[in-house]
């Protein structure tokens, strides 16, 4: 039974900053020092962080695109099948395949499936729902949803070293450095 502070297999080392500017600076320094397994936590989305972290490209746009294309085909051919194949009906002498009239529904199903793919894809790629995550072992982490900015360097970072990494983080003048128990 070990207390979080002396956990044998920590999850990460985490530094707390008071401003996004400090956090961005810290990310740049950490990347410059050769750390790769970084994660940042902020109270609101900050556009530059995504790039600064050097994360791999997200698959989400592709998932959404496929969802949209599928939705478009589904919407159009559903109407085509109903009006041309399954139940052909003459409406005001118009052709059975009245594609102009099919477009609004096709548009709607495109949006529906693209949006659905975005939500479900986001959940899947983020491995949500996730009932447990180690970062919450740090008590002050609750402030990440208020006014504090956190940077975590994961244990599996090749450059991770309990002592050296902690010293490195301290040099960035954070509010606090804590070890995240896993």
């Amino acid at each position: 039974m070990s207390t979080p502070a002396t956990s044998k297999r920590p999850f990460a080392l985490m530094a707390e900053f008071r401003s996004s500017k400090e956090l961005l600076h810290a990310i740049r320094e950490a990347r410059g020092a050769g750390y790769t397994q970084l994660e940042a936590y902020t109270p609101y989305p900050i556009e530059e962080i995504w790039e600064e972290l050097g994360h791999h490209r997200s698959w989400l746009p592709l998932v959404v695109l496929i969802g949209g294309i599928f939705g478009a085909c589904f919407g159009f051919f559903m109407q085509y099948w109903v009006s041309v194949i399954n139940y052909p009906m003459n409406v005001g002498g118009r052709p059975l395949n009245s594609w102009v009239a099919f477009i609004p529904v096709t548009f709607e199903t495109t949006i529906l499936f693209a949006a659905g793919a975005a939500v479900l894809g986001m959940f899947a790629l983020n491995k949500l729902p996730m009932p447990y995550h180690p970062v919450f072992n740090v008590e002050r982490f609750a402030l990440a949803s208020r006014d504090r900015y956190f940077l975590a360097i994961a244990r599996w970072d090749p450059k991770y070293d309990r002592q050296a990494t902690e010293e490195f983080l301290h040099r960035l003048a954070p509010q606090e450095v804590s070890e995240v128990a896993s």
């Binding site: 530059e48 746009p61 695109l65 005001g92 102009v100 009239a101 477009i103 609004p104």
Partner: protein
């Protein structure tokens, strides 16, 4: 890191010398075009006036659309607009010249618009509309639209110049106060203008969404031109370091939105008219899908909407100035095709018959317009140097 910052406050952002070359080229193309137009006017005046309408509307769309985007920027802010404000202002200051260039349309009214011909008096339907569609009120209205747009352009340019000179902090607010009613008035006038200059080519036809179609087209023209100019300026001193990928990303996103709304409006009109299938409405589409015009319509669907739409989905493309400018050039070309497709089928030629004057008039008006625009652009610093938000926009973060 901080040295570049102190540099930028000293810089005066003088326009690059290359602009002079662009201006000279504009005059040359314009002169050749005007000579060709004069010859065409002598040989085939009817064709000349009809081609001229499309050419004038195309370049007018860039100037008036720039006014709309400028006012939109004053109202909504954003760093993307600050760095191209001078380009937009220069484009809007060409409006008086475009007013002068409206004169050939006034002179050629009878050959362009069926309701202006003497035989229109015998047509019952046109006679009913004569209170609005008559040469006198058409001319007065045309100059009125142009004068009011030019007035807003000059007030905004004047306030902007005053800001350069005095750095008065209240000027930003005053520009906003002008832009708010200006944008509403622009939309109203552009709707009327669309009726006068395009819809009335077929005096029987009407479509309530046409005004929006026309002004979205103007906004898209202006935005595409703005992107081309932004890329041009971003390759030259003094703005080389000012343009960031983030700005091109924003321009790309705006162009994507405009491309989508253009398609949305174009399709709405088609769907409504197709569903009702009324003889006086649907004839307009029949004319525009007859013979080779059908392929022009398909061309528009593919290259005015589908291709730019798919390309602009890409984040990388939007942030890459060079590739973005290629899409913008494609959109500009398609803007002309769109206006041509709206106007030319009503001129009563048998099918699609592209005349060399269609090209000559575009080059004539375009050359002259580009020269005037470049001349205006060269007259002021390329950035609003005393705008309170500029420093933040230039800070490297």
């Amino acid at each position: 890191m901080s040295s570049s910052h102190s540099n930028s406050t000293v810089a005066s952002y003088e326009p690059p010398a290359d602009l002079e070359r662009l201006q000279r080229r504009g005059w040359i193309v314009g002169a050749v075009g005007v000579a060709a137009c004069l010859a065409g006017w002598a040989l085939n005046p009817i064709q000349f006036f009809q081609s001229y309408l499309v050419a004038w509307l195309f370049w007018l769309g860039i100037a008036v659309g720039s006014l709309a985007i400028l006012m939109l920027h004053h109202l909504t802010g954003g760093r993307w607009g600050l760095v191209v404000r001078r380009t937009l202002e220069a484009a809007t200051r060409t409006l008086p010249a475009l007013g002068v260039l409206f004169l050939p349309i006034v002179f050629g009214m009878q050959t362009i618009f069926p309701w202006a011909r003497p035989e229109a008096a015998t047509d019952e339907l046109i006679r009913q509309k004569a209170a609005y569609l008559n040469p006198t009120s058409f001319t007065l209205r045309g100059f009125l639209y142009l004068a009011i747009w030019a007035l807003f352009a000059f007030i905004l340019s004047w306030l902007s110049l005053k800001q350069d000179r005095t750095a008065e902090p209240g000027l930003s607010r005053r520009m906003r106060m002008v832009a708010a009613p200006g944008l509403a008035i622009y939309c109203l006038l552009a709707t009327f203008a669309s009726v006068d200059w395009l819809m009335s080519l077929d005096p029987y036809w009407y479509s309530s969404v046409f005004g929006v179609y026309f002004l979205v087209g103007q906004g898209l023209s202006a935005l595409a031109f703005l992107i081309v100019m932004a890329v041009y300026l971003s390759k030259r001193e003094p703005l080389e370091a000012v343009f960031k990928p983030l700005y091109f990303h924003d321009y790309g996103k705006l162009m994507l939105a405009f491309v989508m709304i253009w398609a949305y409006i174009a399709f709405s009109q088609l769907l409504i008219i197709w569903s009702a299938n009324l003889p006086e409405e649907v004839g307009w589409y029949l004319e525009r899908s007859y013979g080779a015009w059908k392929y022009v319509a398909i061309l528009l669907a593919l290259f005015h909407f589908l291709l730019p739409f798919v390309l602009l989905l890409s984040r990388d493309l939007k942030r890459d100035a060079k590739r973005l400018s290629r899409v913008a050039i494609l959109v500009l070309c398609m803007r002309f095709v769109d206006l041509y497709w709206l106007a030319a089928p009503s001129f009563g030629h048998e099918g699609l018959s592209f005349h060399w004057l269609d090209l000559a008039t575009v080059l004539a008006v375009g050359g002259v317009w580009l020269a005037l625009f470049t001349g205006q652009l060269r007259r002021r610093p390329l950035l609003p140097i005393n705008d309170p938000l500029l420093e933040e926009a230039l800070a490297d973060d």
